[in-house]
Every structure is written in structure tokens, then in C-alpha cells.
């Protein structure tokens, strides 16, 4: 039986004004599994990702990431979980404009105090894997949107995290590029045995996942394409 990478049990969250976003939310994500969460705007998809990343606190419930309960961790420990166990892919890429591609990808390893030469070599491998190996000394401004998202995928995977949190990774891309990116993301995550929680509006992107769930005020329910 595969190890659970993420386990959410009876998680509830209200907004500061008192509006309840969701309650009794349960979710289990096994290693290698990819789950897409869909939902209307404002339903709390971003809040859910914040809670999983340890950047926001749930009102109640238990959040276990890579076997550790976030509730018992302080800020520094939660940061260490993010650094070591989680990889992020954002809609707006968020590639540091003042680092070249290899430095951008190597950055999570640098945070783990991996020697720079090793980190850059490993970043090179990941850039090769996403098809940008030849451009490792380029700067972000020389890349297209699709290329930037490839860099982001390489960065999310470089430190071999257990969990990938992907936020609308195709939101800024054209349909053809979006399809390629989702294929690359799904394949890369799978190859490395990581789990992925994907938040998206796009049915096409969601369709690449193993499971599709719909976020409602009463928790997650299976979604139908």
C-alpha cells in the first residue's frame, strides 16, 4: 500500500467576516497520485492550498503533510516542510527575474544548503528534462510564457518533494501550450513518484489528473468532467 503524502481530516475554514468557506473537508493523497480540485470562484480553493502549505491555519481539523501534523508545528518548522517536502507551480510563474534559469531552478537546493556546484548540476538535469537545457544561462525575460512555466516545473521538482501544489498552472497559457505543460507536469511528477494537488478552472487541465474533485461548502465531492 502506498504512503499517504497528504491527509486532510474534517478541515473547516471560515473567512474573517464569518462566512464559512467549507467544513468537514476530508482528502487523502497517496504518493504518485494526482488530484485536480475544481470549484467556483470564491469557494476557497486558494485558501485550501494555503492551509495545505502551512501558510494559513484551518479553524478545525487535522492536516498531515508527509506524515507530519501541521497543527503542532511552529512557523519555522512549517517553512522547513515547505522547503523540503513541497514544490509549487504558480499561475504567474514567479521566476526571479535577476537569476538565470539554472540559478532559479537550483534555488530550492541552495535553501537546503546543497553545495552550489551540485545544485547547479542538478538544476541542469531538470532543465534538460523540461527541454531548456541549452538555455540554462538565459534570463527569464528572454523566455515565452510556456517556457517560463517549464522552468517553474523544473524548480518545483528539483529538490524531489513529496507533494506538488499547482495553482492554475495553465491559466496564463494558450490552449496548445497549456496541453503541453500539463502533459509535462503530469509526466514529470509521476516519474519522480510525487503526489500533486492541482487547482484549476480548466476542464482540460483537470482531466490530466487521476481524480477530479469539486470543492463545495460541505467539502470535496467527486466532479464529473
Amino acid at each position: 500500500m502506498r504512503e499517504d503524502v497528504l491527509r486532510l481530516t474534517a478541515v473547516s475554514k471560515s473567512l474573517p467576516g464569518g462566512r464559512r468557506l467549507f467544513e468537514g473537508l476530508d482528502l487523502v493523497l497517496a504518493a504518485g497520485e494526482q488530484v485536480a480540485i475544481r470549484g467556483e470562484s470564491g469557494v476557497g480553493k486558494s485558501t485550501l492550498l494555503n492551509i495545505v502549505a502551512g501558510l494559513d491555519a484551518a479553524d478545525s481539523g487535522e492536516i498531515m503533510v508527509a506524515g507530519r501534523n501541521l497543527a503542532g508545528l511552529d512557523e519555522t518548522e512549517r517553512t522547513v516542510i515547505r522547503r523540503d517536502k513541497i514544490g509549487f507551480v504558480f499561475q504567474a510563474f514567479h521566476i526571479l527575474p535577476y537569476l538565470d534559469l539554472a540559478q532559479n531552478v537550483a534555488f530550492p537546493l541552495i535553501l537546503q544548503k546543497i553545495p552550489r556546484s551540485k545544485a547547479i548540476a542538478r538544476a541542469g538535469e531538470l532543465l534538460d528534462a523540461v527541454g531548456l537545457g541549452e538555455r540554462r544561462r538565459s534570463y527569464p525575460k528572454e523566455l515565452s510564457g510556456g517556457e517560463l512555466q517549464r522552468v517553474a516545473i523544473a524548480r518545483a521538482l528539483v529538490h524531489e518533494p513529496a507533494l506538488i501544489l499547482a495553482d492554475e498552472p495553465t491559466g496564463n497559457l494558450d490552449p496548445d501550450t497549456a496541453e503541453q505543460i500539463m502533459a509535462l507536469l503530469g509526466r514529470s511528477v509521476k516519474q519522480r513518484g510525487a503526489a500533486m494537488l492541482l487547482v484549476t478552472h480548466s476542464p482540460t487541465a483537470a482531466a490530466t489528473a487521476d481524480r477530479q474533485l469539486l470543492l463545495t461548502p460541505h467539502g470535496l465531492v467527486p466532479a464529473h468532467g
Binding site: 480553493k45 486558494s46 492550498l49 494555503n50 502549505a53 501558510l55 512557523e75 519555522t76 517553512t79 522547513v80 515547505r82 522547503r83 523540503d84 513541497i86 509549487f88 504558480f90 499561475q91 504567474a92 514567479h94 526571479l96 527575474p97 535577476y98 537569476l99 538565470d100 540559478q103 534555488f107 530550492p108 541552495i110 535553501l111 544548503k113 553545495p115 552550489r116 556546484s117 544561462r137 534570463y139 527569464p140 525575460k141 510564457g145 517560463l148 524548480r155 495553482d167 492554475e168 491559466g171 496564463n172 487547482v199
Partner: protein, 842 residues
Amino acid sequence: MAETGGGWRWLIAGELRAFPMRFLLAGLAIAIGVALAFAVHVINRSAADAFGQAVRSVSGGSDLQISGASALGFDETLYPRLMALEIVADASPVVQLRAMIGEQNKPITLLGLDMLRALTVSPNLIGRTSAEAGEAEAALDMDALYLSETARAQNGLRIGGRVDVRANGRSHSFTITGDLPGVDAGQAIGVIDIATAQWRFGRLGMLDRIDLKLAQGVSIEAARRAVETVLPGSARLTDAEAESRRGDTLSRAYRVNLDMLALVALLTGGFLVYSAQSLSVTRRLRQFALLRTLGMQKRALGAQLLGEGALLGIAGSLLGLAGGYAIAGAALRFVGGDLGAGYFGGTSPKLHFAPMAALLFLSFGIATAVAGSYVPARQAARIAPAQTLKDAGDPVDPRAAPKAWPAMALIALATLFAFLPAVNRLPLFGYLAVALMLAGCVAGMPWLARTLLRPLARADSRLPSLDLALHRLLGAPSQASTALGGIVASTGLMIAMAVMVTSFRGSVDDWLASFLSADLYVAAASNEASFDAETQRRLADTPGVAGIAFSKSLSMTLDPELPPVLLLVRPVAGPGYELPLIEKARRPGVGLALWLSEPAARLYGARPGAPISLPIGKEGEPARAYVAGIWRDYARQQGAIIIDARDYIALTGDEMRSEAAVDIAPGASVPAVRAAIEARLPPDLAGRVSFAEPASLRARALALFDRSFAITYVLEAIAILIGLAGVAATISAQTIARIKEFGMLRHVGMTAGQILAMLASEGALLGFIGVTAGITVGLALSQILIHVINPQSFNWTMATTIPWALILAVVAALIITAAGTAVIAGRRAVSRDAVRAVREDW
């Protein structure tokens, strides 16, 4: 601009509403610059007007004047020779003395006039007899004194009363017979009969001035040529305008220096506008890209930024003009028209609004703000909308090595300019050298930053915060250069001024120590020549006095276009005097030996051994002399010449002295000797002599130094504060603009502490590079100030003293400001909101 109509106004108004503090700070910086420049101008203009008015008042409306080349005046036989000239319709002889009246000892200009002549030549000086005195009696009364309203008010005197008048070491009692209605308000003038003036005040056979009324149709130039033919060496032809010009010449360099400092404040304000607008553009690049995508023209976008700059300029400049006028009013009231520098003594200037200057400084302020917005506006207009919407990062490619040659070229040009001479007695090339040196250093910042940071970035510190900070500075070179420019300019100017002022103060202190080597100094009230030969002999014999040297000073004109030089009469070697010589003639020249102060030598282009003549020779002929040496002097900017007392007596017969330096015999005490000297003074000098010891004189001189530099300190401090505010604003705005970056870094596992450490490292590295360059450029600038601007402005040199403690404090302050600002702004940026900064896509 018209195409965008109201939209353009909306955008500006929206930006003002969103970031009021940023606009307020930039506008305030412009306001301060304009206020300082306008205040300095208004104060100087008011003071110069008052000085000119004083000169015109004593000239009384004559066409031309003959004045004594020295305070000794000239022989009255010149008067009939002038009257014989055809070009002269009438001439009025004048004895002009500086006098003290009443119990309050307030100074007035005392004029001895031939009333009948003055009536036609200088009618403004004719007195109006009061009804009680009676016209006829007053005309015959040899002791009649007419006092201007200011002279009466200052001394609490009324018409009809009697008053003691002291001048030229003598005293006489007069009746205040009437007033002087033609004399301008604010001028303290007294008029007596010329014969009385000559008789009562030791000026028999001598005149100080002859006022001329020219024959009808005679031009001033023709008159000048005719008068020159009869003029002795002891007299000079002049007019009220030339006198005013000389006063202007004396203070001009000082005024220009203050103007330059005010300009520095204004330019720093311009830098702040540039910095605020650059950051505003960086922050709004996407907004601009959107506007361009929606159809806004390039030109309209640029115009929006320029419009914002112009609005800032107008608001800041108007505020500055009002502030400047208020500062000028306060300064005239509390510090004086010379701003503590002592150029316009004896005048009481009134505040005059200067509309043309106000317009000029208003335009300066607007132009500076618009110029500060120009580069950001061009950047905004040139954006490529599609690229910009993608967040393209720094416009400069971090892989391209910055060029060093533009900076080198500017610095080389600055060095060349530093060696060029003054233009019209102003160090224009010196100022240009300062500006070019600063510009060169700022231009060289990208190259220097890369040169210093690359080796550090190559080393693997295993400290992610430091690594990221180094890569950010190398990877965003244009943003780093903007912040560095501010730090370098602030540090450079701060250190240059600190080194210059410390060097100047140190040199003045050394000079005082060598100049004030007597044990006790004695001076007659108001430096009147009060010690006659008999008094000098009596004082020399005072018990406890080992040696005594008497001296006096009198002004004389060597060049009609320059202010009068001071002739110091005293023993060249003797008790209490040790000339701080800079250069000495290798061999004696022809005639008298004269020792010129450094300012005098520079003003008159005299070298040791060179011939020189003094307008105090026998029978009005110039005395031949040579420059025996040049000595350091910081007290008399108009120049001073020392003549040995024996040579002076041989030339003039004048034995009256106003000061004495006393060496005390071993075992004698200063208080005892002082009491003994007081006891030996003649009765009319009792209580009118002051005593000072070197320590108190030195303290007083240094206090005077500090007072005259007070305005410089204030202007410099304000320029520095604006600079520091600019640095703080630049760094904090850059930090706040990176809020998404910090959000992403928190997501990928950087702790808030690591981000703050990164920001502190960035700030400290920027501060370190900026301060290193700032110290270097500051020391270079200080050498331009010390060896070019000071000698060319004030004609004196000084030895460099570097205030290391102050420099260290400045370095610490700047690095702390840079790092501290980054951390403070960073705290806000890495807060919970910052983590959510990436939420635009969630």
C-alpha cells in the same frame, strides 16, 4: 495629451491619492531646495541693496567723487586744482570719519562739509535746522551737528540736545541743531562744518573726499579723463555705483558658494523626484502596458509622467518660495544680512520681495522636477506592452559588463577643469569639476558594483540569504545603480564638506595660535586710533611689561574695482607677533618691505620680491615698496598688508595707534599688569579700552568662524538629509515593489528571517559599495573645495585635515540607513499579506 482628455487627469489624481506620502516627500524636497535658494538670494539682495543705499546716501547725489586711496585722506590742495578744471561746475570738499556718538557708543558716518558748496553739489546731505535753533545762529555755530533720523534713534538723541562725538582718537561736544531730510531711512549719518571736522578731529589740511558737480553736457568719461590729469597717488576717482560694486565683489564669492549649496539641495530634490518617479514607473509598468494596449499613445504616457513631475514642481516651488521668503525674513532679523559672514557690517537691510528672482526659482523648481521625471517618462513611453505584461525584470542585461569609460571620461574632465583658473574671480570650473566628478562617480557605479560583487557571488557562502542578495544586486543592475547613486552623492558631498570645514577650522586654529602669541591684548574702543606717542611711552614703561607692540589698521584702495585692502601698521618682529609666513622674498627689493597676506597676494597677483606701491607716500605720491613675504591670514578676505611701524611713521608722521600686544615679564601676573596699564591710561581713555587674553580671543575667533559657517552647515545638513531621505525612499520603495517575490520565496521555503537577512545584506552591501565610492569621491571633492574653490573664491589656502571619526560615523549612519530601511520595509513586505502576494493567480 489632449487625446486622453480627462483620463490623463484621472490617472494623475489616482496616483496622488494612492501614494500621497511619496509625492509629499518629493514635493517637499523641491520646496526645500527652492526655499533655500530663494532665501539666500533675497537675503543677499536685501543686504546688497542696503549697502548700496548706504553708499549712495553718503555721496549725497554728486556726479563723481574723488576719494582718499587710504584712510589718511589726501592733501586739500587738490581742491583748487579740481575747481580750475573746465569740466567741473562745482566741487564740495568732504572730511569723512567713522565716529562714535553718545553714551551708547553707536557708530555713525560723520561728514564734514562746506555747506555752501554742498548745497549745489550734494544737496541730499544738507541739514534742516530746527525752528528753535534758528537758521542764522546755526549757520554760524561751529559746533552745530545735523543727525539723520536713524542716527538719532539709535542713540536716543533729540534735536536741541548736546552730544559727545569721538573720531580719530579725539572727542568734542556738539549741539544737535537739526536733521538730514535727504538721507535715506536706515542710514546713520551726521554732518558738521568741514573746518570744525578738520580742527577738532586732527584732519587739518586733509580731505577724504571731494564731491563733483560736472558742467552741463560733460560726459562722465570725459570728466574722468580730465580729473585723472590732476589726481595724486593718494586719491582715487570713483562714483557711488563703483563703491556699491566693490561691496558686491567682496561678498560675491560667498554668495555664489551659498547659491551652489542651495542648488545642491535643489538637485538632491530633483534626484528624489527621479527616484520616486522611477519607482513609480517600475511599479506601474504593467498598468502602463495595459494603457498602451488599450490604445493610449506613447507620447501621452510620457506626458502623464512629465505632468506629474510638473505638478510636483509647481506645488513644491510655490511652497518653497513662500518658505524662502519667510526664512529670509527670519535670517535678516536674527542673523543679519551677511548671514553671519561679516560683509555688510553697519547696514540694516530691509526685506525686499524679488519678483524676477521668484519667477526664476519657480522655473528652476519646476524644471528640476520635470527633469527628474524625464528619464522615467521616457522609460514609460518606450515600454513594449506585451513584454511588460510578462514582468520582464531589470531592463539591463546582467550578463553584459557595464562600461567604465563614460565614468572615466567624466572624472578625467573633472580633473582637467580643477586645474583651470577662475572666471571673473568665480571658481566656475571648480564647480563644474565638482559636478562632473560626482556625475562620473555615479556613472561608474554599475561597473564598480559588478567589479566588487562578482568575486563575492562566485564564492559559495552556503548562506542562501547572502547568495540571493548578491545575485539580486548583480542581476538587477539598474535598480541597484539608482540606489547607489543616491548613497554616493550623499556620502560624497557630506564627506567633502566635512573635510573642507575641518581643514579650514584646523588651519584657522593653527593660524590663531601663531598669530596670538602675546600674553595680553589691549584695544581702544571701536578700534579708534587713541594711543598717541606719549601714551605709548607711558604704557611701555608699565611695571611687569616686558615688551609692548602698538599697532593700527587703515583701509586703502589699491585697485578701484576691488574692495579696500587693510594696511596693518606694527613692528614686523616684536612682542606678541609671529607672522605665519608662507613664502619669503629671496633677496630685498627696492623701497619699503611689505608683507602681504595670502588673499592680498592673490587678489593683486603679487609674488615675493615683486614691486608694489602704496598710496600713502609723501606729498600724495605713491610710496615704492616690494613684497618681502606672504603670510597666512583668514581674518581679512579683502587682503591685508603689513608695514613696519617705523617705515609708516617715516612716510606719514602718524603715530596714533589703536591696539597693543603685551608680553608680560616673568613673575608678573596678567591681572596685575592689566590693572597697572589701566592706571596709566590718560583720563579720556579711561573705561574706553578693552583687554583680552589669547585664549579668549581665540575662542571668540573660533566662535565667529562657526557663526559664519552656520548657514553653510545648515544648508549642507539639509542637502544631506534630503539625500538620506532619497536613499531611504529608494530602498524602501524597491523593497515594497518586490512583495510578490517575497511571497514566492516564502512559498518555496525561505523563512521570514532569511528574507529579512537577505534584505539587510542587500542594504549593507549597497551601503558598503556606496560608502566606499562616496568616501573616495568625497575626498576627491574635498581637494577641489580646498585647493580650487576656496582659493579662487576667498583667496586663501589651507592644509587638509581628515575627520576620521566623523567619516566613520557617516559611514555607519549610511550603512545603517540603507540596511535598516531595507529591513523595516521588508518587515512589512514579508508579513502575512506578503505571503499572499502571489494570490493574484489563486
